[in-house]
Symmetry: C2
Amino acid sequence: MKIGFIGLGIMGSPMAGQLIKGGHDVYLYSRSKVPEELVSNGGIPCQNGPEVAANSEVIILMLPDTPDVEKVLFGDEGISETLLEGQTIIDMSSISPIATREFASQLATKNVSYVDAPVSGGEIGAKNATLTIMVGANGSMFAKVEPIFKLMGKNITHVGDIGAGQVCKVANQVIVALNIEAVGEALLLASKAGVDPSKVRQALMGGFASSKILEIHGERMIERTFKPGFRIELHQKDLNLALNTARSLGVSLPNTSTAQELFNACSAAGQSTQDHSAMVCALERLAQHTVA
Amino acid sequence: MKIGFIGLGIMGSPMAGQLIKGGHDVYLYSRSKVPEELVSNGGIPCQNGPEVAANSEVIILMLPDTPDVEKVLFGDEGISETLLEGQTIIDMSSISPIATREFASQLATKNVSYVDAPVSGGEIGAKNATLTIMVGANGSMFAKVEPIFKLMGKNITHVGDIGAGQVCKVANQVIVALNIEAVGEALLLASKAGVDPSKVRQALMGGFASSKILEIHGERMIERTFKPGFRIELHQKDLNLALNTARSLGVSLPNTSTAQELFNACSAAGQSTQDHSAMVCALERLAQHTVA
């Protein structure tokens, strides 16, 4: 299949590589130069988004944030004017669920299909084709695009109609942030009470307090290994999506709001590029005590 | 061994039963009548706490809260005046870590040993002898009392010195409450965004958002099965311990504080005896929307 891929950063580049390896004709464009390795493996570099769109049946976007997706679709050098009936946009960026539905509506007027399919699993998941992919797609579209996803990921869920993938990703980021704060508050309290936080973590694993975050991020807090992983600045972006979506819909997310404030405090202290488990440092500064 | 057991409620009664089954001479006292079944199985009923203390090498307490433990130890009919050098108190109640250390210090003046060993696992864990037991004990005391715990539980951890068991239990309850709020905020946002929360839960299990709470309490929120389980009023008691301990030590627990407020709101709405997963109902009322 002729597949376009716009956005070849840390995530997009290895994802496009999987599609090339899978035997597809992949038309590539990125703001920065198309990586040499993708071209030498058979990828076809293009000069701009419209050139990608003119050559591809399906166009995948993997961009940093909502305004970037809007610009690639509807900006000055946007692809929407090139797109024709029967083409499909798959947005694998993590962006606003509400904007996603607006973009899809605009493209639907031209009978262009839209699928949102944000991922989790990070750079390692992209390189090993083990990404978790959360898909929002109407009716029969999921079956049509699923084979493409299978080249890039392992745990692929059709969550619901257009926008449902982005909603699911936002829900994921809310839970991850709040579970980090849960572990941070608990381990800091234990440590300031004079109890070894690694013993507490061990005692709690397997019980009702157990979580992937207690296991992995709890260990990071104790070992002080805050090299990312997943950067605080990216999680701030995702909680911003959560809080804006919540405000639009009329939902109150009190703990998500506090978690964002702690990330903001970490950024103020110069920690925006550290792993999100470093959220605990904001709590530590308040308590004038470190977990370990 | 001659073991005393004071506090024969929903938890204490089956726990004492395991010790009788294990072949110990168990001296029993409870504010309410000693259960007939324990006596017919060989337990020895006593008229008051001091009678238990006078007959036992080790005295286990399983009481509702800090003031109850204080009363049994140091109140008008308290056992402290009966206790002699070489006897050991094992408090398996979930109470204040700070009060625990004070009680232990007072008893140390009489060379009476003290071990704190709160549990998790609930009534089912007590009946099946599968409780998780978090032990605070100095030096060689853990080895001395471990065989007793093995009759009542499976996952037994020596967390640290006196008080460490209670600190660990408080940390457990903080994480559980905050993970419940995490899942509640995420599923409510998804639902109000028009996405099936059960699909979201499925998509997130196995990834970084996965937790025992997403699995069990997430399902309860979706299925609306708020019969306990673990009652909100008990979790309020535990978060009160967490917040008081934090205040005493100089630790700020912003999300624990909010979670407690949501439990308070549930109580105001008549939900204090529902399962703690019903915390989501307080968020739902704010959003005028239910998860399912």
